[in-house]
């Protein structure tokens, strides 16, 4: 019998591949993957705030935790994209690139 691996122990990219193979894509896949990511905690945000030089109250940290969790779910498709090493960032539109 195969060993059961907790979702959080599987890499996101691997999980995407597994879900795609199982025919699960779109919002359903995103939701499953979101569940697999370690949640943000207020304590972790408090630590990050110190790095930022910020001093958010617990109420604000709670708000940020919820908003950021949602943002990270939304941004996951950006993180999941594999980009060729030759692709450089485009800080803004440059007519010379036409």
């Amino acid at each position: 019998m195969p060993e059961l691996v907790p979702l959080s122990a599987v890499s996101r990219r691997r999980l995407l591949q597994i879900l795609a193979a199982a025919g699960i894509s779109g919002p359903a896949a995103v939701e499953l993957i979101a569940q697999a990511r370690k949640p943000i905690s207020i304590d972790s945000l408090r630590g990050a705030s110190a790095v930022l030089g910020e001093d958010f109250s617990d109420d604000r940290l709670k708000m940020i935790e919820t908003a950021l969790q949602r943002n990270l779910d939304q941004f996951q498709i950006v993180r999941d994209l594999e980009i060729d090493d030759l692709v450089e960032p485009a800080p803004m539109f440059d007519a010379r690139r036409r």
């Binding site: 990050a48 908003a67 943002n71 939304q74 941004f75 980009i83 539109f93």
Partner: protein, 483 residues
């Protein structure tokens, strides 16, 4: 309500012809619009500030000049109103926020400087979503309302610009667009909204949301009016390093009505995947209409278009959080709760995500460039119909009860800001069931080819009458009649 002065129902260029021929005076025109604003602003809330006395004084000056034979051009004597995020020297500029509610700039934006120099007359400043990114509901100045049904959202962030034009409270307006904020209210209100190429118009004096995504451009009732405005505000500006030195063509020459042989690209992925069925049907019908006029329709693909929204959001919010850093520390309680939530959360975005979003921008630029090797313009849904204004209790946060965290799609607009390409939204239909709400088509073009956008959209507009319909603000049912 007193009957509206029929002057307000004429397009800007119709008024310009009357003014040039001295059949109508700028004073009469300005007064007609000021009366209209006085009658409707309590309902529509499109204007934050109305500077009637100054406008009338300038109208009298314009009248003197024109009478003396010093006609400055097609904007001379015409009223206009900028979104209240453009700095106007000596005139309060609120950014739609309590944070800057009393700010009186000591300098003038390049856009308003150029419009004023061309003889246009600023009659007031328009409502918006706070700092071009707020809820539009829990803001310092209350929500602008959609003239087609005042329970409905006029879109944003240039909410007042869209609403004022649809309500015939100004013939010309200026909006700003970072993720779609000109084109979205243009769509919801059924007017013309142009987001020109990044750099085509100076951003000097426009309060920043995102340095690398912000555009400021014309909003109007007709394509010809938008073209006349761009003619004046486009061009290099020593005060804005991103303002391009590309030559500015004579846009009036693009208004030929001819689309024979023009290649219209229709994306086979993403852009038509979601959307209101009535909208999609109207857009397809508009494309068929242009085909019937002699245009060719070709398939195009933008494989990573679905990433524009999420990547664009990272860039916009990260840059916004940086721009507002000091204000967020000093007066956080004055911000719209939604703006505060977005900016404070953005402080935690990793730099790697921001840079990766910039790399996605490179990918999108390359994919759009390839698409435009096959076509002259790309046709996609513009947007609509509008939804109802959100209740204040849920408008305070992006996290809605029971909502799911699906990727932020960015609609059909964010890719324009991410790639810098020009785009225009024009009306192409209305919903059938009441309330009758506008539906719109959007065209994209190659960099600095705004003339192509004017050509195709003017050809469509000239052979349809969607832009002639009036919202039911005067106590009458919506009508297709026009004065």
């Amino acid at each position: 309500m007193a009957a509206a002065n029929e002057l307000v129902f004429k397009s800007g260029q119709q008024l310009a012809a009357l003014i040039k021929a001295r059949e109508v005076s700028p004073v009469d025109v300005v007064r007609a619009y000021l009366d209209r604003i006085e009658a409707l602003n309590p309902t529509v809330n499109a204007f934050i500030t109305v500077n009637g006395d100054q406008a009338l004084a300038r109208a009298r000056e314009a009248q003197k000049e024109i009478t003396a034979g010093k006609y400055r051009g097609p904007l001379h004597g015409l009223p206009y109103a900028p979104k209240d995020i453009l700095a106007t020297k000596g005139i309060r500029t609120t950014n739609g926020s309590k944070v800057t509610a009393d700010w009186v700039p000591t300098y003038e934006s390049t856009i308003t400087t150029r419009l004023n120099t061309a003889g246009a007359i600023m009659i007031g400043k328009l409502n918006l979503l706070e700092f071009a990114m707020g809820s539009g509901v829990v803001s310092g100045f209350g929500p602008a309302r959609n003239p087609w049904d005042t329970d409905y959202n006029p879109g944003g962030s240039s909410s007042g610009s869209g609403a004022a034009l649809a309500a015939y409270m100004t013939p010309l307006a200026i909006g700003t667009d970072t993720g779609g904020s000109i084109r979205n209210p243009a769509a919801m209100c059924g007017i013309v909204g142009l987001k020109q190429t990044y750099g085509r118009v100076s951003r000097y004096g426009v309060t920043t949301l995102s340095w690398t995504l912000d555009h400021a451009g014309p909003m109007a009732k007709t394509v010809a009016d938008a073209a006349a405005m761009l003619q004046v505000i486009a061009g290099p500006d020593p005060k804005d390093a991103t303002a391009a030195h590309e030559p500015v063509p004579d846009y009036s020459k693009a208004l030929t009505g001819d689309v024979k042989g023009l290649r219209i690209g229709v994306p086979t992925n993403y852009f038509f995947d979601e959307g209101n069925p009535e909208l999609l049907k109207s857009v397809r019908a508009a494309i068929d209409h242009l085909k019937g006029m002699g245009a060719k329709v070709v398939d195009v693909e933008v494989p990573h278009a679905n990433l524009a929204g999420s990547a664009g959001w990272i860039i916009a919010m990260a840059e916004g959080a940086c721009f507002h850093e000091k204000r967020l520390k000093e007066t956080p309680e004055l911000f719209d709760p939604l703006v505060r939530e977005r900016l404070e959360a953005a402080k935690f975005y990793p730099a790697v995500d921001y840079i990766k979003a910039m790399r996605i921008r490179t990918i999108l630029m390359d994919e759009m460039r390839r698409a435009f090797q096959r076509c002259d313009v790309m046709a996609v849904p513009g947007g609509g119909p509008a939804g109802k204004l959100e209740p204040p209790d849920t408008a305070r946060s992006d996290v809605k009860p029971g909502s799911k965290s699906t990727p932020f799609r960015g609609g059909t607009t964010f890719i324009g800001d991410m790639t810098g390409l020009p785009a225009i939204v024009i009306p192409c239909g209305f919903t059938q069931a009441p309330p009758m709400l506008p539906l719109t088509i959007q065209f994209y073009a190659k960099p600095f080819d705004e003339a192509m956008l004017f050509r195709v959209s003017h050809a469509y507009e000239s052979t349809t009458d969607w832009h002639k319909r009036r919202p039911p603000l005067d106590g009458a049912k919506p009508t297709t009649a026009r004065g």
